[in-house]
Assembly symmetry: C2
Homo-oligomer: 213 residues x 2
């Protein structure tokens, strides 16, 4: 899939099929702001539990910052060669967004104040529970946005690679990530220098069960 | 976006933009097998850590099973009205797949046996760590596939709704979900009876940080 113009239609199934994790990028490629914003806006159109939009995108384009990230990401060259590293973070205190998300709905006359109050109370209640809930929600909803980000990037003719292998503790320190956010993944984004090898997938028979185990 | 034919091109950005969580479905719509498989195959094309493909899809189309699920999903009518409920599960013991995933690569001459052995050892090592890692990985990677599932469904002219609100304990019991899998979300899938209200999103300025906090 070659670089596409801003308005060209590009088939969703083709994008899904052609997206591969790319680890070799053309150096020095700057993604135009309007394209980067289109990609991030597409990512942020993902659904989320209670529409709390648990994702945050820390977009690292500064060369010095990428160099600082390099050892934190175990010296993977793609970190410095790509156009941007996007750290996808998840909000473990996303209930703090409830008032603002539903306040807007009330303002626009889409929801009565009383319904909002009940909903906001329920959300705070759910986040008071012990257990993995807040973290699960942070990881889940940030991942939905990350997937859309990768597809939108491909739709604009760029490639990505999701990276789970990095020193999370060092990352949080170096980039001053507030405690409220958990790093979910790093995504490199840029123009592929060479095509990735297509990777295999298990057949559906090993991934799908019908009606019950 | 009206129902599309099997081969029609449909723009990825349009799909991302138009996908909304739909809660009202036309009853009695059966999705042709080849379409359902195309949707599931697209979902399973998602990236995953070490390509372990942590997702499992429990596809519930049987009417009796959907009725059994109804109270477990707090009686949301969409469960019985939609064409299929797809429970997206995540594998918390995904390292058990490593041997098979990389064995295939060796068989096809894509990887030397020694590299495989090292890699499989590393993966088992990572899964021996205490802490949230195996569960995070299960939730993260299953969510990537879930997002592609929703977009692929939209690309085929169907709609979806991700549901986090269900009794997980009762679900695991009723559908005999092995301990190895954690329920990540239920997705309803079907033909929309009415369009969903577009939902608002926070502006990028509230979700994006550049270079460092």
């Amino acid at each position: 899939m070659s670089r596409t113009t801003f308005d060209e239609k590009i088939d969703v199934f083709q994008v899904i099929q052609k997206r591969q994790s790319v680890r070799k990028y053309e150096k020095g490629v700057q993604i135009p702001n309007e394209e980067l914003e289109a990609i991030l806006n597409a990512a942020a159109k993902a659904p989320s539990s209670w529409n709390l939009q648990h994702w945050r995108f820390l977009v690292i384009t500064d060369e010095a910052k990428k160099k600082e990230l390099l050892p934190i990401g175990y010296n993977q060259q793609q970190i410095v060669d790509c156009s941007a590293v996007i750290a996808v973070l998840g909000d473990v205190e996303a209930d703090k967004e409830a008032e603002s998300v539903y306040g807007e709905a009330v303002e626009k006359g889409l929801m009565p104040e009383k319904v909002k109050e009940t909903l906001v109370g329920q959300i705070h209640g759910a986040y008071k529970n012990e257990g993995p809930f807040p973290r699960d929600e942070a990881v889940l909803n940030a991942s939905l946005a990350a997937m859309q980000l990768m597809l939108a990037a491909k739709g604009k003719g760029y490639d990505t690679c999701p990276m789970g292998g990095f020193n999370r503790h060092a990352f949080v320190e170096a980039f001053k990530v507030p405690e409220r956010f958990v790093p979910v993944m790093l995504l490199t984004l840029g123009k592929a220098q060479e095509e990735a090898h297509p990777s295999m997938r298990k057949p559906l028979s090993e991934r799908v069960v019908y009606n019950s185990f």
